[in-house]
């Protein structure tokens, strides 16, 4: 059930990533604005307070609709109410999708934020472990800040070293699209060289 184009949805996600990078000091404001200029979309995100109000009234409608159906059908057993509740959960998607398609302002209105948050929380705990296992195993790994890379969702260098920090900044300065140039491809193309890797190769 996609209401927007893939590129629009990716750009909205990348805008959030760039904001994270600027706020965490990985990019300066000028670099951030260069990247943000490339990520413009015609969609506009609804304010979180308004989304909370919309969610509240959606719940009111859903509860009332399920209750009304149960009353009309004279549902008396608990199992019947549970089935009705589950049916109501599925029934809300068509009108939700219709509303989203009608008004592009309500981007992310029906986004499944709970699974997204769960996955984000999981990856936050998972990547430090992966990063830690990378420390000193690879000759290119500096062993510094590997784990913190995932927190800022920066494209991670295969060896896990923090050269990827510079990668995004260099993309911003040189006008490259960080979405289409992966770190490892850029190594091979000679666009970006990890100083640690270079030092290891010349050793």
């Amino acid at each position: 059930m996609k209401a927007y184009s893939r590129s629009d949805e990716e750009n909205v996600r990348h805008q959030a990533m760039v904001r994270d990078w600027v706020s965490s000091g990985l990019l300066d404001a000028t670099q951030g604005s260069v990247l943000q200029a490339d990520l413009q979309v015609s969609l506009r995100r609804t304010n979180s307070a308004l989304r909370a109000v919309l969610a509240f009234f959606t719940m009111v409608i859903l509860f009332a609709a399920v209750s009304l159906t149960g009353i009309v059908l004279h549902v008396e057993r608990d199992a019947g109410w549970i089935m009705l509740g589950l049916g109501g959960q599925f029934a809300r998607y068509p009108p939700g999708s219709w509303c989203v398609a009608r008004a592009s302002i309500v981007v992310e209105w029906r986004r499944r934020w709970v699974p997204r948050r769960l996955i984000a929380g999981w990856s936050y705990w998972r990547y430090p472990v992966v990063g830690s296992s990378c420390v000193r195993r690879s000759p290119y790994c500096s062993g510094r800040r590997c784990g913190s890379l995932s927190r800022f969702r920066i494209p991670i260098c295969r060896c896990g070293c923090d050269c990827a920090f510079g990668f995004v900044a260099i993309c911003a300065e040189s006008g490259l699209d960080f979405r289409t140039h992966s770190v490892s491809e850029s190594f091979h193309a000679g666009v970006f060289r990890c100083p640690l890797r270079e030092a290891a190769l010349h050793r």
Partner: protein, 218 residues
Amino acid sequence: VESPSLVFDYVLYLGALAFGVLLGYLEFRFQVLKESWDNYLLLSACLYFFLAYRFDNRFVLSFALSTLAGWFGLSATRFGLIQYGAYRVPAIVYAIVIALVGTGLFQSRLKPHFLRTYLHVAANVLFVALLSGVGKNLAGMGYLIALVILSGLVIYGGFRFQEFSFAGYATIYGYIGVSIRLLRGVPDERSVMAYFIVSGIFVIAFIAWLAVKAAGKK
């Protein structure tokens, strides 16, 4: 003075809460102030205001405002200004007072970013006070009219100044108030549920329309 970190903010908030618990225990154990125990609330509120302004902490400011609200209501009862348990009028007065104080401090540029906290507390207290009167038999209609007018003004102001959380409060409190009055004495459950479905759809359409209009003006 800017707050050093979020952790510090929470530690300060926890300290403020612990201070309140300590005062409660002291009065329970030793009965120092006895009947005039509401002065503890005033003392706590003063301390919390100092901490909020000293450490730039909006959590503690909201705590100070709610503690002051408690003192306001209890003092009005103790001095015989109102009947015991009748807190609606003091709540309305309190909300207006803190909204004016917050605006005054904002205009004098003393921690102007605290204005939103003052207005959040004032709006919630005012809406709840008006809402609590809607169900009354005689005065209920007056409270409902006041609630609807206030909700309309706050929704307009919320969209005008891009403060959407206030528009959200006004929508929800206004809806609850109107629903309480309309559904009084309606015995049929089907009619009640149908009302919630139809009115909910109207409110969502209204909010979406306002949001699209607000986005168009940006």
